[in-house]
Symmetry: C2
């Protein structure tokens, strides 16, 4: 956590930020957030993230008292105050202190700056393992703070040597706990269409790879794929070489994934310079 944050209408020392514990953000787990990065002091793909945050607020019936432009100005001011060259920015809007302790009301807005650790280089070189689990997120397209299940489950996937989980339900895959998933088979790149968060890195891959098929993908199809990878803000494009005990393709990072990883790195660099 960097020194300063934005909390309830002003920039203050981050350690002094506080919220009342009766806020339904805490007692009902009802809130939204978003998370993006800076590269060389520039927030990457900021417009997309702000659009999504504003959309999440609308969809959860929470009032956001700042326009997109105002949020941008606060974020830029915070980056400068924290000297945040390369780090993470977390926006959070709580459900508010509600009279009946259940219905959403006017919540509190926070913006924090954070240090950021990417997965180690070896994981990009060898690929990672996902642990499959029968689960589907509800209202998955809204970036809520509802991560109780994967936080609870993380103890298990770590024991299994997995980097994260892979959600599947009724034979179809959707996403990982904080990432989208793509598969490649005979040159076709595909990604699930339903029960997913519309990730910004996912969006970038759709732009880079052009003909990605956005459609239902069965769990069996994933296991038979030549390559697979997950995408997220903090993982960028991370190759998946194992799902449970099954190797994906030959169990190594594939050429198409590598191409996309390079293309994404260039795209990011470009975004940080504009």
């Amino acid at each position: 956590m960097k020194q300063f944050c934005f909390a309830k209408d002003q920039i203050i020392p981050a350690a002094e930020a506080s919220i009342h514990p009766m806020d339904i953000g805490l007692i009902r787990g009802y809130g939204i957030f978003d998370f993006f990065r800076t590269s060389n002091y520039a927030p990457l793909f900021l417009s997309d993230y702000l659009d999504r945050f504003i959309r999440s607020a609308e969809k959860t019936h929470l009032t956001l008292n700042y326009s997109k432009e105002e949020l941008k100005q606060i974020i830029l001011e915070l980056i400068e105050k924290n000297n945040l060259s390369d780090g993470g920015i977390r926006m959070l809007l709580s459900g508010g202190v509600s009279e009946n302790h259940f219905s959403p009301t006017d919540g509190s807005l926070f913006i924090f700056n954070e240090d950021l650790d990417f997965p180690p280089k070896e994981k990009y070189e060898a690929g990672i393992k996902l642990l499959p689990i029968e689960h589907v997120r509800y209202i998955a397209d809204i970036k809520t703070t509802n991560y109780a299940f994967p936080v609870w489950h993380s103890k298990i996937w770590k024991q299994e040597g997995a980097e994260d989980v892979l959600y599947h339900m009724n034979g179809y895959i959707s996403e990982s706990s904080r990432s989208n998933i793509f598969i490649i088979k005979n040159g076709e790149i595909a990604t699930p269409d339903k029960h997913i968060l519309h990730g910004i890195t996912r969006k970038r891959v759709l732009e880079l790879a052009k003909n990605v098929a956005i459609r239902p993908i069965s769990y069996e199809e994933l296991l038979q794929a030549d390559e697979a990878f997950i995408t997220s803000t903090t993982k960028k494009i991370l190759p998946v070489t194992k799902v449970g005990e099954k190797a994906i393709g030959i169990g190594k990072v594939g050429p198409e994934t590598q191409k996309l990883m390079s293309a994404f790195a260039k795209m990011e660099q470009k975004s940080s310079q504009t």
Copy 2:
């Protein structure tokens, strides 16, 4: 919210309670709680609620720094300071401020006293409507703060004139968003066995009714039942006379439900006097 609360090891004015917004209780919706009532200054069925709270902490890998007896003493002190004759007591344990903003760590414990509104008398006399929805709670037997889905959905069930939702999945019912459900058919009382919170009021009904069948109950079976009711701390035993647009039985509060309502009232009275 009553004047005093217990917050992070001391009794303080409730308005001054605070938690850091980077606690995963807020940014990941990871925390546990419990809620019970006082009647004539006595916390009802306190031992059961404390057992459950302690069990929830264990199951979520959260450290509770107080024993059952210590929690009891704090609660009794708080009731006295707040002069809480008939009200609600909410215990909350957050996941803590975690280094990786995901894994549970040492959280904060809060205990609040609240005013309490029961459903109006008419609802006990006419019964209520539940809106069925395909959903199942994960780790339903742990009393987590994970209510993002029903909070979000409550706008819809209120529009439909329902008191709450009824979760069902693959043709089987489980529970309402904050209540257990029972059905009665040809004199047999039954309640679902899986994907439920083990409610304390549910437990009381199992004691009162003796031969309750605890087993899978199909959605169809519910629709064909003679009577149905939900149980919870704040609703006690509340008759269900409609599910969606279908009347349960003859659409009126049935005799078996009425008997249980009376028996439960007596049981509560007894508990508050011991």
